[in-house]
Structures are given as C-alpha cells and as structure tokens.
Amino acid sequence: MRVTLTVNGRERSADHVWEGESLLYVLRERLGLPGSKNACGQGECGSCTVRLDGDLVCSCLVAAGQAEGCEVRTVEGLADADGRLAPIQAAFVETGAVRCGFCTPGLLLAAEELLARVERPADADIREALAGNLCRCTGYESVLDAVRLAAARATAPAADPERRP
C-alpha cells in the first residue's frame, strides 16, 4: 500500500508498504529518517517516541496505515532550518545527558512536549513526563539537569528571543 503523511512539515509518501509495518519502520527504512530508534519494539522503552498530530506516541506501536494523512514530528525536525539546535537539544549536549545516545531522540521529544505544556516543571513533573523513556547509561541525573536547564533558559527574563522555544 501507499502511505502519505507530513513529516517535520514536509509531505512524504512511501510505496509498497506491507500492512504489518509500523510507523517507525516506514520512517526508518522507507523515508530515510533513522533518528527514531528501535530498542524494544513493544512500546516499553520510548526510544521511538515521535509526535503524531501533536501527541507523544511510540511509533513502533503505530501501524503505518494509521499515520495516513497525519502530521509527524521526529528528532530530525527539532533543529531549525539553519541547523541551529533547539534549546532542549543544546541542553542535552551541555549537561552530558547524551551518552550512548540511543534513548536521546525519544527523550528529546518527550521533554520538548513537557516544556511546551509546563513552563516551570518541578523535578517530580519531569520524572513523571519522562517515565516512559528508558536510559541505561546516565542514571537520569544529567537528563534531569538538561530539562531543568532548558526550562530555566526558556523562562529567564533576559531578552533572548532565539532561545525561546
């Protein structure tokens, strides 16, 4: 079958999609967007997290056909058109929240969604929002640092519009 969807603002379509393929498979193997990762294939680890019409989903659990006509946002769409990192991406690099990095794309999408929803998240809010994303390297301390840092920058009174999300 053919699947047409909008990925990171661009309309894309994939042909010869087998009905059993997931959105993750189509993104990675058919649309050349391998940034979303496949670590468990059953929605437990969050490595494949993307936004589907704004909602956070595990793209390994979404059948490709279900994404027909939808808007999808992946890690490849976080930086701006000039390649400048989004604030949450910069914060992850700066705090050492990126180690092996396999969980990073999913964590970035989940953290971005949290910061859009909650301006000044408490640690308990951050933990709750990221509870669906497994990381095996960091022990999460630097991930918390990154989200706190991005939140602090987004709400700082200083006039720096390009740092705002």
Partner: protein, 720 residues
C-alpha cells in the same frame, strides 16, 4: 547576554577545574553529542546498503536437545528468500569463543541452551526472513537439563562439552566446571575468632540491557573478503574469532565500528558478526542483521547468577581474623569470559578489607542455562553483595555501627590483598565511607507536601497504593573493590583518549606521535619533543601552533604495567593492574505491607584517580549506581529448571526508569594513581558494585528481614 548560565545545583564537582583550560580535568562535550541530538549519528542498526538483504537467525526453543533432523526446503522455496544456511554449510571452522573455542557458529547435532543459533536466513524483507526461519523444520529430541551445581556435578550428569581441549580442562574437578580459582592467604585452617557469622547468598541472572540492539551490516568485497560494520566492544577480538570461521585471512575480514548504543560487557562476544558475514559471502549481497529485543535477550551473554557461602571471623573489637568463602557462578552453556569472572570473584572476594587469613574459592559451571559472560563489574558485583551483607551481619553480632566496623578493617595503601598483591596506589576506603555517612539525610516522609500527599513520592507512586501508611525508612551502606583496565566500552574512553592526546599536544609534550610522525616525515620534517623540526634539527614550530584548533584524531599508545595469572592452587599473583573503590549510602522508604520499595536517595563517594572529563566521570558513577539499583530491586532474568527464560522483554524484565532512580549526590576524590597516565583510574565499574548491597542493607534495616538474595522482590518483603 543571551546564554543563561545553568542554575545553581546543576553543576557539581569540578565542572571547570582551574588551570585546565582545553585539556584533561575540564568537562567537555562528547564529540558525537550534536550528531546524537539531531538524529544524524549512525548506529549500526541505522546502516543500509543498496541491494541489501535482511538476515535472520533461527534459534533453539529447547535448553538441551539433540537435533534429529533439519529440513530447509520449505524455507528456501518461499519467494524473496535468498539463502538458508545450517551447520552443514559452514565453510571452515565451526566453533569460536572469547577464551575457549567452545561455541558452535550454528548448532550441529546438539543444542545446549534456549536461543542457540540453528539456521540462518537471508531475504529481501525482514518479515520474509522471519517467516522463512519459521519454515525451517527441525526435529529435536529433548535431553535432561543441567541447571545448577547439583545437576552439573552429579555422578551421572550429562557432560556438556565431552571433548574439551581448553587449557583449563585438565585442572578442573569435573568436566562441567569451566574453571576454578582458589585464593589462600595466611592460615585459614587454624584461624580462630571470638565472633563468627555465616551466610548463604544468591544473585539472580541479569541482563546488560543496552538499548541499541545487536546489529551488523556485512558487505562482500571484490577480493573475496568481507567488510563488516558492527556495534561491538572488541573489533580485534571479533576479527580473531571471525577469520577462521569464514576461512579467510584476517586481512580480508575488515571490521568497522558501527555506532554503539550501549554495551556494558554484552558486546564482548560475537552476536551478528559471523552470521551476517556468512550470509553475505554466500549470497554475494550485503546482508544486514538486527536483533529485536526478544532475540537480544536470548542472543547475548548475561551476568553470571551466583550462589555464595561466606564465613567471617572477627575479634570482639571488630577486627577481621578470617574470611572463608565459596562462590559458584553459572556460566551457562558456553565459557565466554568466565575464567576472568571467576578470577575477579575469587581475588576480590573478601572486599576492600584487611584480612589476615583467607580461604576463597570461586568456580564457574557449564549448565544448560543462558550463557553468561561479561557485565560491568564482572565477578566483583556478585561477591560484593555477599561480603557486604556479611559485614552488616557481623556488625549486628558485635553490636557495632556498620560504618565503624568497615572503617576498622578498611584497606589502605600499602596493605596486601589475599592474592599477595600489595596495594601500591591510594585506597581511601575509610574516607569514602566517611564522606557518604557524613552527608545530611534526606527529609522523612517526602510525600507530605503543603498541599497534601504527592503520591509520586510514595513507594508505589501513581498506582495510589497507599497514602503513606505502613512505610518505614531504612539507611544502608556498601563499599566495594574492583579491578580496572583501559578500554573503550566501559569508561567513555573515546572522549578521554582524544582529550589526553589533544592536551599533551597542546602542551608540547614529547611523543610518541606515531601517526603524526609519519605525516610530518613526508616533507622531511620530524616531530621531536612536541616540536616540528627540520632534518638539521632546526625548530620550525610547536605542534600546538601547527595544529591550532584542528581536531586531534589520533590516540596515544600506552601500555599498562603487566599483570600475571593467579597461581592455580593458591591464587597468589600480581593479577590486577589497578584497583578502584566506591562507597554508597542508600536511603529507602519501604511499604512493608505491600512490599514496595522506593529508593529515596543513593549517595556515592568514589576515588577516580584523575577525572579527565569530570562530567563524564560523574555520568559513569551515576549510570553505574543506577544499574546497581536495578540489581537490588528490579532486574532478573528468570530461568526455570527447564533452562527456559521467562521474561525476555522490557515488559517483564524491568530496568530502572527515571521514577525508580533517586537523586544521587556525589563526592569525587581525585587521588592520582601513580601507575597510569595522568593518574587516571577507570570510574565506571566500582559504583555498580556497592550500590546494590547499600540498598539491600537499607531495606533490611527498614524490614528487619535477612534478605539474602537479589533482586529483592515484593514477595520477599511480604512473605507471600
């Protein structure tokens, strides 16, 4: 203007070491960090090749069985299938292994564990490959399963490797014993003590659970060789094992490191390597193999489960007189790195303590359980859980504070290990314990907020299992000793290696700059003492000036001082290059009615020798501590007496989430190690040791239960 500095509390410990601009001691960003946040970093599972096929492994559903027949005709007939290979198709060597050559590339007439590879398929779509693998007809005749020490060493036990020819085979007490290592010091037979405590302990099987699945892309080359892009820890060890299996000279087996999504020891052994190459060479097409999580659980080695028996004797004022211990590790069906694991367990088995009389014995068994090999802190993790539980038991018997007991026996520089090896570098065991003990304790009842109860701070969390009734707090301590080496895969060495090279070049230190020397020699110039000189000895410029901001891509060559094997009978020998120490204090809240544990805080103190990159050092300690937490209360590969794994998925095998891991304050000491460049000392393994016993000690304090096995599960706390 513009950049908001990190708020207070985000940067602890030496983020900017004074006087360290641009070099060792300054926190730096990972060279691959930006690629990883944009999704551009190429992990091995992201690699593709035009015209590539997908490989798939058919694995044994039985833990122990004879293969009566194998029929691939139906699988081969499926449209889209390009190859189906079995043992009969192997072109050259049929076995491989890290230390013993005991592991079949594909099973011949017998499978020895669930998940043993039996056949390979290459097809044009992963789903086609999966279906084809299911069409391979294998007739098995199940055999009795060897699953523990009793069944492995019984007089009529099936011998799992009857034709052993490894160098330990002649020295083991039973052919199902992979390797045995005693360590004897003093006169343990005649040593007597005023206070004696004994205990039996169990450590469950656990998984490294890296997130990036095993992946390889094999591309057949014009010279008849193969190019393999693979996520691995040891390219050279892989090549050494692969070339004989492929029947190729090593130079025609070219390996390139694909992006690695975590390892923790599980990528020391071969996984996709031989299979992807065999399929590629057979079909003449590039072949990609990627394991799904289920296959990953069955397709790589785990941490050895262990049963440990200890007897500690001490004086009335709490000085250890003797330690007698026996550690039985289950290697599963193949040896992997078991001899090294046994060596660690035996040689580090009394912990970071001065003990005059020691009788330790560690051994690994061949069974039909899942194969076990390397995982962070190998061998030392299992021992640390038991000897630290013993120290707490001894403290109770002596009516002594557990930290004080440890302090009185703490190893220090100049002391001698039971192996006879003198500790010739800083060993601040007592100081590390003092640091974690002296930290302020987190406030009690953290779920009570001004507005009522925040269930997220309760054991049980948003399950709303309680509002705070039946919850008891506990505090526990643990400290461990681990040997360390020098290798990427454990300790962020890729970053550290580049940092060190760049730092020395900038400071104009003398070489060897082997790679750069070659480059500079081209126009007749040479590098001498970090300076570029003409053949007549005229100094043109310092290397630092020439390189400027250019990326440094070469690493220094450093050979650590030699170590020697332990004596087979006494365990004596200079066996370890370096030691590493970490202490933890754990604070837990336990819902004693429901058996739920919440770790409230996990404080660590560690000596890292020299933090080349403090941010990475902190990250290693945090990550290692979190894995120790996983072993304490969550993670176990459940294997039945049938040798079958019950929980090969992230749905059932639980690794800690951000809700399970508490704040982890750190104290980092940098007591330079004289025998290593820059005084460095591996940081990643030691914290994995001591976190587990500290947490279990805290749960014991809260529950007054003996808790002799890890992980501690709710039913162990409620007795249900």
């Amino acid at each position: 203007m513009g950049v908001v500095p990190p708020p207070d509390g985000l940067t602890r410990c030496g983020d900017t070491a004074p006087g360290a601009a641009g070099g060792a001691g300054e926190s730096t960003r990972r060279p691959d960090g930006v690629l990883k946040v944009t999704g551009d970093f190429a992990y091995a599972s992201d690699l593709r090749h035009e015209d590539m096929l997908w490989g798939r492994t058919l694995r044994s559903p039985h833990a122990h069985a004879e293969i009566r027949s194998l029929d691939t005709a139906e699988a081969l007939a499926l449209p889209g299938v390009h190859a189906v290979l079995t043992h009969a198709d192997l072109p050259a060597a049929t076995h491989y292994g890290l230390e013993f050559t005991d592991q079949p590339v594909l099973a011949d007439d017998r499978v020895r564990h669930q998940g043993e590879p039996v056949a390979l398929v290459a097809a044009d779509h992963p789903e086609t490959a999966r279906r084809a693998a299911a069409l391979v007809r294998v007739v098995y005749e199940p055999l009795p399963v060897v699953h523990d020490e009793a069944t492995a060493t019984a007089p009529d036990a099936p011998v799992l490797h009857p034709d052993r020819d490894d160098h330990h085979a002649a020295h083991v007490p039973h052919p199902n014993v992979v390797y045995r290592q005693p360590v004897l010091a003093g006169d343990p037979t005649h040593a007597v003590a005023a206070v004696v405590v004994r205990g039996d302990y169990t450590v469950g099987t656990r998984d490294q659970a890296f997130l990036g699945p095993e992946s390889g892309l094999a591309v057949p080359a014009g010279d008849g060789g193969v190019d393999l892009h693979v996520a691995t820890q040891r390219l050279h060890a892989d090549q050494r094992q692969l070339a004989p299996v492929l029947g190729l000279e090593p130079e025609r087996v070219r390996l390139t490191l694909g992006g690695v999504g975590g390892a923790f020891g599980a990528r020391e052994d071969l996984s996709t390597q031989a299979h992807a190459c065999l399929l590629a060479l057979h079909t003449g097409r590039p072949v990609k193999m990627v394991y799904d999580r289920h296959e990953s659980f069955l397709g790589h080695v785990h941490r050895h489960p262990a049963t440990l028996s200890y007897e500690h004797g001490a004086t009335l004022d709490g000085r250890l007189v003797y330690v007698k211990g026996r550690i039985v590790l289950d290697s599963g069906a193949y040896a992997s790195s078991s001899p090294a694991v046994v060596g660690n367990a035996a040689s580090l088995g009394v912990g970071p303590y001065r003990v005059p009389h020691v009788a330790m014995e560690a051994l690994a068994l061949y069974t039909n359980n899942p194969p076990c090999g390397a995982m962070r802190g190998l061998g030392a993790v299992q021992a640390c859980f038991a000897y630290e539980a013993q120290m707490d038991r001894l403290a109770v018997a002596l009516n002594m504070d557990p930290v004080e007991l440890r302090r009185r026996n703490a190893l220090t520089q100049g002391d001698t290990m039971p192996t006879g090896q003198r500790v010739d570098a800083p060993a601040p065991v007592a100081e590390l314990l003092r640091l974690v003990r002296d930290r302020p304790l987190p406030p009690p009842r953290p779920w009570e907020t001004g507005d009522g109860v925040d269930p997220r701070a309760l054991p049980g969390g948003l399950a709303n299992s309680s509002v705070g009734e039946g919850i008891v707090r506990g505090v526990g301590y643990g400290v461990g000793i681990e040997n360390v080496g020098f290798a990427e895969g454990f300790d962020d060495h890729s970053t550290a290696g580049v940092r060190l090279a760049g730092d020395r070049m900038r400071r104009g230190e003398p070489g060897p700059w082997r790679g750069n020397e070659a480059a500079w020699n081209a126009p007749g110039l040479r590098l001498v003492g970090g300076e570029v000189v003409t053949p007549r000895g005229e100094v043109l410029a310092s290397l630092a000036e020439v390189l400027g901001e250019e990326a440094v891509e070469r690493e220094l060559e450093f050979r650590h001082r030699p170590a020697e094997p332990f004596d087979r009978a006494t365990g004596q020998g200079f066996g370890h290059v370096q030691y590493s120490f970490c202490a933890h204090r754990a604070v837990v809240d336990v819902d004693i009615e429901l058996g739920l544990v919440r770790v409230v805080e996990l404080a660590a103190a560690q000596d890292v020798g020299r933090a080349i990159n403090p941010r990475a050092a902190r990250g290693q300690i945090h990550g290692g501590s979190a894995q120790g937490l996983g072993l304490a209360v969550l993670e176990e590969i459940l294997v039945g007496p049938d040798g079958l794994v019950r929980d090969p998925s992230f749905t059932d095998y639980l690794i800690p989430t951000i809700l399970d891991v508490p704040p982890m304050p750190l104290d980092i000491l940098e007591l330079a190690e004289a025998h290593a460049p820059y005084g460095r000392c591996g940081a990643g393994e030691a914290p994995t040791l001591s976190a587990t016993p500290a947490i279990v000690a805290a749960i014991r304090q809260a529950t007054r239960l003996p808790l002799t096995r890890v992980p501690v599960r709710p039913e162990h706390l409620t007795g249900t």
